[in-house]
């Protein structure tokens, strides 16, 4: 919103209660509503997509099959043979983030992945799962992860803290990457959209000039579509890599 020449870039991330009085009484925000819509879309894609069970798939079935095959391929490739166990988790994670990013690009909607609370909870789930898996497979042997075999013993006081810090900073970098990407993208939209309003308000010559930021915003939407896919992909592939580390210990 361009009120008197100032750009309110972060106002779009404000949480409000949705669904009227009922929603307000349980603090049901538009973020929760978008999460429900995203989950519903994924489930209905899989349900209605796979219902025909055709040998030659139609469009919807092909989409569901490509999604399934793609994520399963990623699991097998990154984690190895044990990847099959984690496939449902990775699939859910990927599509929850992807749908969050994509739905946020629709006008008047809300990007739930633009809140650090959401992305950090996702990252924390991942890191707790990774640690639990590693501990349950390797037991106490897991702690050799912080000191690679073959490294000189003299360097131990240096290597071990560095490894521990890098292990603990994984959820932070994982969550901030996704959250910052989404926030930066939407702030850019807001800033350029404000330029359109400001220039158009400056008279007929400004109207012509406003075509510039408008065209830029159109290009940005295309770029943000790419980023939406890329960030969901990066989040899930990094989860796969961490799981690989947990299963195989280096």
């Amino acid at each position: 919103m361009a009120a008197e020449g100032t750009i309110d870039a972060l106002g779009q991330f404000q949480l409000e209660t949705s669904l009227g009085a009922l929603g307000a009484s349980v603090h049901f925000t538009q973020s929760n509503l978008m999460m429900l819509i995203a989950s519903g879309l994924i489930l209905s894609l899989l349900f209605f997509g796979m219902r025909p069970k055709a040998i030659v798939p139609g469009r919807l079935q092909a989409l569901a099959e490509i999604a399934y095959d793609g994520i399963r391929g990623m699991c097998d490739e990154q984690i190895g043979h044990e990847g099959r166990k984690f496939f449902p988790f990775i699939f859910t994670l990927f599509f929850f983030i992807l749908l969050g990013n994509l739905l946020g690009l629709l006008p008047f909607s809300f990007t739930y992945t633009s809140h650090i609370a959401v992305t950090f909870s996702l990252a924390l789930t991942v890191i707790v799962l990774v640690t639990v898996v590693a501990l349950s497979i390797h037991g106490m042997h897991f702690f050799t992860y912080f000191f690679p075999a073959g490294a000189p013993k003299l360097l131990a006081p240096l290597i071990i803290p560095v490894e521990i810090i890098s292990y603990l900073s994984r959820p932070v970098s994982l969550s901030i990457r996704l959250f910052a990407n989404m926030v930066a993208g939407h702030v850019m939209f807001e800033v350029f959209a404000s330029f359109i309003v400001m220039m158009a308000a400056a008279g007929s010559f400004g109207m012509l000039g406003a075509v510039g930021p408008l065209a830029l915003n159109v290009v940005l939407v295309g770029f943000e579509l790419l980023v939406a896919f890329l960030q969901a992909y990066v989040f899930s592939i990094l989860t796969c890599i961490y799981l690989h580390d947990a299963v195989h210990l280096h």
């Binding site: 901030i176 926030v183 890329l230 990066v234």
Partner: protein, 74 residues
């Protein structure tokens, strides 16, 4: 100094980090182009790695951008 002016300056200084990120992303794609040119059949495997490297490097840019936003808008 005026607080608003100091904020604008601070945000500007915060995004100097983007210079390094620019060099990094340039390096990643230069290496990607070179490797695909040398061995076009490795394209599919190398492309995924390149995109992963790009996203990890871009995250650094976004940390800097985030600091700039925090300075400007809070």
């Amino acid at each position: 100094m005026d607080v608003l002016a100091a904020k604008a300056l601070g945000a500007g200084i915060a995004v100097i980090a983007l210079a390094g990120v620019g060099i990094g992303i340039g390096n990643i794609f230069a290496a990607l182009v070179t490797s695909v040119a040398r061995n076009p059949s490795a394209r599919d495997q190398v492309f995924g790695l390149g995109i992963l490297g790009f996203a990890l490097t871009e995250a650094v840019a976004l940390f800097a951008l985030l600091i700039a936003f925090l300075i400007l808008f809070t």
